[in-house]
Subunit: 411 residues, 2 copies
Amino acid sequence: MQEYLSRAKAACANLSQTSGRLRNEVLREMARALRTERISIMEANKKDLEYAKANNLSAAMVDRLMLDEKRINGMAESIETIASLIDPLGRTLDGWTLPNGLMVQKVSIPIGVIGVIYESRPNVTSDTAALCFKSGNVVVLKGGKEAINSNFTIADVLRGVLDKFGLPKEIISMLPDASREGVMQLVKMDRYVDLIIPRGGESLIRAVCDNATVPVVKHDKGVCHIYVDKYANIDNALKIAINAKVQRPGVCNSMETLLVDESIAASALPLFKAEFDKFSTKLKGCAKTQEIINVAEASEDDFYLEYGDNILNIKVVDGVKEAVAHITKYGSGHSDAIISDSYQNTEFFLNAVDSACVYVNASTRFTDGGEFGFGAEVGISTNKLHSRGPMGVNDLTTYKYKVFGSGQIRE
Amino acid sequence: MQEYLSRAKAACANLSQTSGRLRNEVLREMARALRTERISIMEANKKDLEYAKANNLSAAMVDRLMLDEKRINGMAESIETIASLIDPLGRTLDGWTLPNGLMVQKVSIPIGVIGVIYESRPNVTSDTAALCFKSGNVVVLKGGKEAINSNFTIADVLRGVLDKFGLPKEIISMLPDASREGVMQLVKMDRYVDLIIPRGGESLIRAVCDNATVPVVKHDKGVCHIYVDKYANIDNALKIAINAKVQRPGVCNSMETLLVDESIAASALPLFKAEFDKFSTKLKGCAKTQEIINVAEASEDDFYLEYGDNILNIKVVDGVKEAVAHITKYGSGHSDAIISDSYQNTEFFLNAVDSACVYVNASTRFTDGGEFGFGAEVGISTNKLHSRGPMGVNDLTTYKYKVFGSGQIRE
């Protein structure tokens, strides 16, 4: 593993010498190669699908695994989008001149070697490889074992393009040992790896964080809230709440708990129940909620859960302060919204809720690299440091200071 | 420890509701209080000095420990400087409007609870507490045991001021268990602590990085280089090299290795030797260097060392590419300089050397928060992520996205 990663590290030097134009040219060639090699990719994918069926994986999982011409074309288009983004490298982030004449420039540069750990969907392989390549980083990919044939074939196609351009294939590396032990080795290789991005279940992320000596930017769970304030426009509140829960309940930016101000609970809760019933959402409520509408009981533990399903907790709170206190205690710092027409209450909520994305009068479902306008996303960080919220190519860079002198020495 | 840290975490909410004006007022009162309480601080310091003498600590260590009226006044002035800095919180770092009308604002906020581990000098206690308070962070301080009486007394004075303003004393916390085991517990408390900043020896930093589940921004060693190019102005090169090695050999931004282009080695090396001899610098050289000047042999291992002393390695290299390769292999990514009048060579060096600060025609000694114009510094980060190089108050912040809507839902 060490030998393998040291070659990945060595490839950084080659990559850092490429121009943005060359990197975009390589990316467009990668998109072409995916289309050209679609048959062999689908053949590899067939093996994964057979394995999935033999092992009784769920229909949802099989669907995520499956690649057809349309999906492979989608992967190619995604790489073309990434090629069209502005170069994230060499941006002057700040700059100033010191009294002694030294000119300081803070300039964006690649992070180095990034290890990405992810699950099932094979398009993540090409997306992640392309995003890391665009931002001048060497990537070490570790996909789910159920997609291993698809992932290796896709990576081989992309590596073939690197080779054609005279670039080292190690720029896109696949972790040689894809077992849990292999991952635990990877996250300790701080001499060779500069960042680990784990995407996946809680136990994987916990294991990575507990064992890593490499910095980790985690893509963890989303326990998102919508607070309906006393001063809410109820039509907006209904529309936004339905969107945040029902449009795609399985994703991390969907709502898990609806908080409703006490003073409007009696009139508003029946309206919410009627709306959610149309979508067969399973509702659970606190004691006060249960006094007003007929729903199951939400336990203390329920408020910590990311259901990933069409289930919703409802809690009645005594104003915006209790709403914030609830979010601080039970939330995961992902995305939370207030629905209100009050200047004071929205300002208080925006400042007091410490989440990556805090919304006023909008659905939490917008926490997404594409929606934010980043063109493509690495994921949604629940870290507090380095990157928070949707991560685009700029979030795959760090910086250095260039200092221009004319003989200055320190007195 | 858990109970103690949970109270520190709880204090974040109080602190995040303070205005910049209030925080500056508290800081100025802290400066006054340090001056008023100087006698009791010096008395506590006396105990530390007695312990130091009884345990035969070095004269340099005793000097670092010692507090007199002048030094306490310096600590107070430093806090006043921090009070006068622009508020690092609530800065709009970026902002844009999405096609659907959502307005996205990226705003700076505090990190939360920061654990700082440091050594001997007691002024670090007040500096660090003030920097964290200025940036809205709760701090958990862990100073060296040789300064324990001074540190606790200084912290008590500052905590008294918090209390006077009705703020929780936990905003400035002292780690209750200051043993190595206590530190190892602290760095695993990711539920309560958001960042660890270790300043100190290599073994401490290694132990912290190996054990931490909390993100770490380390303040590690500096193996800094100056490369004298074929196209260098030799007078500049001599002046800068002397400054970088001799002015303060014990600090992390001083030079450890001088790299000299082969084509000028025969003429330049005797000049460097004559200059360094004036300052009694102990010179070690590679085989080629030894052919030209009479110096001791520099071993392979020497090139990895941070001497922290008036000792210098010299190596002859075959141009800027070999210089960069040497720095990449032996350097610590701290600060490196090229002395050259060649546009191509300086550009190549600036881009190819992956260090926090890369200099042209200036001394590496400028890598410093004060010199960079940050007003005060937390330290010099050798991390690649979150913060690199000199860290000022802005580096003690992270960000969130505020998103302003008018009923938007995701299609």
